[in-house]
């Protein structure tokens, strides 16, 4: 059996807590990633390929181009904070629970 570790992961891997941790991790990561790709993609895509349209359209005193700029600047911070808080509050306790199931293998 190939493994770099001196402990057995089987019990941890098959526990329901691990399944929950895995699916929650996947859900938060993918949704934040999708949000970021959508916003950054729109920003870069329109700035480069629809520059006149976003420069001319206005929302109040701001052009859509600058509105997108501000959004794209702030989004990474918002996403980072959301991910950090969610990880600390929800994922970390689950991870701690699963880690306790990692047992030393008999030599």
């Amino acid at each position: 059996m190939n493994t770099p570790y001196s402990f057995d992961t089987h019990a941890a891997r098959t526990s329901p807590t691990y399944a929950e941790l895995k699916s929650r991790t996947r859900r938060i990561t993918l949704s934040l990633l999708a949000a970021f790709v959508a916003i950054y993609g729109t920003y870069v895509g329109t700035s480069v390929y629809a520059s006149e349209a976003v420069a001319d359209a206005h929302v109040g005193p701001l052009s859509v181009a600058w509105l997108l700029t501000l959004t794209a600047t702030a989004t990474p911070v918002v996403i980072a904070v959301v991910f950090m808080r969610y990880s600390d509050r929800v994922l970390q306790p689950l991870a701690d629970e699963v880690r306790a199931l990692l047992v030393e293998r008999d030599q």
Binding site: N2, T3, Y5, F7, K22, P76, L102
Partner: protein, 552 residues
């Protein structure tokens, strides 16, 4: 700039070097283990590490280059600046935690647990050294231009001397302080850089009675008849080719950050996954703040200094920031900004030096060249120290040769290579069960070779039209034209290619070890190893009988 202001610039900078040297000598440990020398034993908190990450990442090119670019090209250049920020999300969401949980000292550690160790160490070592060396060269060559501007040293010999001096200071930092000293220099630099930018940004706004529209109007007015274009997209990326080139660059920036070895290594300087996440989040906040400051400074320089004066100065766009500081606060402010710019180079290069030394000593020397011997910790650290000296001297030599060249493409190259050679393998190792050693090798070497080859045959290196104003081509090599790749940035081709190579070659091969270890790795990547468990079996490398005996 007169003689006095050069002297003042030098004195302020010397004060910074002296302070940091004292700190580095105080924290440096003479007999350090690998853990201590390469990762400060994981002893930094997430917040401190976040500052150090920002200090490691924000180079002089970012500070001086982007301020100047925004001053001249406004909106489009800020679009480019945001590229440096978004890459951090990939680092935070996909890489930071798993890397911290499964690796120990270098990027290769996290890859080699699943894959066949020897060829992967070599591949990861080669690409780490390539990326860090391109990055190092860009910083050192940039230092030459900075010297010309800030210390008013026009002669080439004088500039070479200063490059050598800067390089030697850095070598001393790393030799004496190891990762602990390097980290503290980076934290200090990040604080200095951000607070200087903050002061300048507020100062700029106060000139326009804290009114942003007021500043924007002034910027448009001083830019002349085409001034309005400054605040709209399309000034730089106006043709089909420049647009595609920008998309290619944006891709490399977004995926390159999480593949830069000196950034990845900083995730080992914290104790656990929670702090690794925290440090990436702090870095994102700080770099976002920096982007906003740079936007204000750039537009401030456009309105207060004006584009003609910026373009007319010795080092062109790069001088926008320093000129703005001089207009606002006179000699003293200029001296502080110059010192900060130098501190920026120092901190970045120190980070690069220790990363490449760690990769050489740990990945190549300990795990490949001397894999059949029991190599002591002390011996690896000794080799790493020699590697610091050798790579540092190589960087000084390269910086002297490349001084005065257009070096922006070197940074772009470093990002493109990191995004093509490192990131696909890193992601596939962490997330794809079917990944094999053959796939990883094809992906790494394919990404490395394709990105380097494409850039050699790109217009960045040869064949750009000659600018009538300067009589020179914007390419690195003058007078010849051997380019056939139309874009400056290879990312849009080489990144998908590296992913495709990795996936196809994996599907065509079998790797039982990789498949089995993936199960363990996935659990440990998510939850971390239990305390008191070594991250990997110490001793002879994978494939040796001892490991199987241990694993039974």
């Amino acid at each position: 700039m007169d003689d006095n202001s050069s002297l003042l610039n030098f004195l302020v900078f010397a004060a910074f070097v002296l302070t940091t040297l004292i700190i580095v000598f105080r924290v440096g440990r003479r007999s350090a283990s690998q853990e201590e020398f390469f990762t400060a034993s994981g002893g930094f908190s997430g917040r401190k590490n976040g500052f150090a990450l920002a200090g490691d990442f924000l180079s002089a090119a970012a500070f001086l280059g982007i301020t100047g670019a925004v001053a001249l090209n406004g909106y489009d250049s800020y679009l480019y600046a945001i590229g440096f920020l978004v890459g951090w999300l990939v680092a935070l969401l996909l890489v930071a935690q798993r890397l911290r949980n499964t690796g120990r000292l270098t990027m290769a550690d996290a890859i080699c647990l699943r894959l066949n160790e020897r060829p992967m160490r070599v591949a990861a070592g080669v690409s780490t050294l390539a990326v860090t060396f391109f990055y190092l060269l860009a910083q050192m060559a940039g230092a030459g231009g900075l010297v010309a501007l800030l210390l008013d040293v026009p002669s080439r010999a004088g500039q070479s001397l200063v490059i050598a001096g800067v390089g030697l200071v850095m070598i001393v930092y790393v030799l004496v302080g190891g990762m602990r000293g390097t980290t503290i220099v980076q934290i200090l630099k990040a604080v200095l850089l951000l607070s200087t930018c903050a002061v300048l940004a507020i100062w700029v706004l106060s000139r326009f009675s804290l009114s942003i529209p007021g500043m924007l109007d002034a910027a448009v007015a001083s830019a002349g008849p085409e001034g309005a274009a400054l605040l709209e997209p399309g000034k730089v990326y106006g043709t089909a080719l420049t647009r595609l080139d920008f998309i290619s660059l944006a891709l490399a920036l977004a995926l390159g950050t999480a593949g830069l070895p000196h950034i990845l290594m900083r995730f080992y300087t914290v104790p656990d996954a929670r702090q690794a996440r925290r440090s990436a989040a702090w870095a994102i906040g700080l770099i976002c703040l920096f982007s906003v400051f740079v936007l204000v400074l750039g537009l401030g320089a456009a309105s207060i200094v004006g584009p003609e004066k910026i373009l007319g100065s010795v080092s062109g766009p790069n001088s926008a920031g320093p000129l703005l500081a001089f207009e606002l606060g006179g000699r003293w402010m200029l001296a502080i900004v110059c010192a900060v710019a130098f501190a920026t180079i120092l901190a970045v290069v120190a980070g690069l030096l220790i990363t490449s030394a760690a990769s050489f000593a740990h990945d190549i020397y300990e795990r490949v060249i001397r894999r059949r011997h029991q190599v002591g910790d002390q011996e690896v650290v000794r080799v790493a120290r020699w590697a610091v000296v050798a790579i540092g001297l190589l960087g000084i030599g390269g910086g002297i040769v490349a001084n005065g060249q257009n070096v922006a493409f070197l940074v772009a190259l470093a990002f493109a290579v990191a995004a093509s050679a490192n990131l696909p393998t890193l992601i596939l190792t962490m997330y794809w069960k079917r990944f094999t050693t053959t796939g990883a090798l094809w992906s790494m070497y394919g990404g490395l070779i394709s990105s380097v080859v494409l850039i050699v045959f790109s217009p960045a290196v040869s064949g750009k039209p000659i600018n009538p104003a300067t009589g020179k081509s914007a390419s690195m090599i003058q007078g010849v034209d051997f380019h056939w790749f139309p874009l400056d940035n290879p990312g849009i081709v080489s990144i998908p290619l590296a992913f495709a190579l990795g996936i196809v070659a994996s599907l065509l091969t079998r790797d039982d070890k990789s498949r089995e270890v993936f199960n363990d790795l996935e659990v440990v990547g998510l939850v971390g190893a239990p305390p008191q468990t070594p991250f990997e079996v110490v001793g002879p490398a994978a494939g040796e009988p001892t490991r199987e005996a241990l694993a039974k």
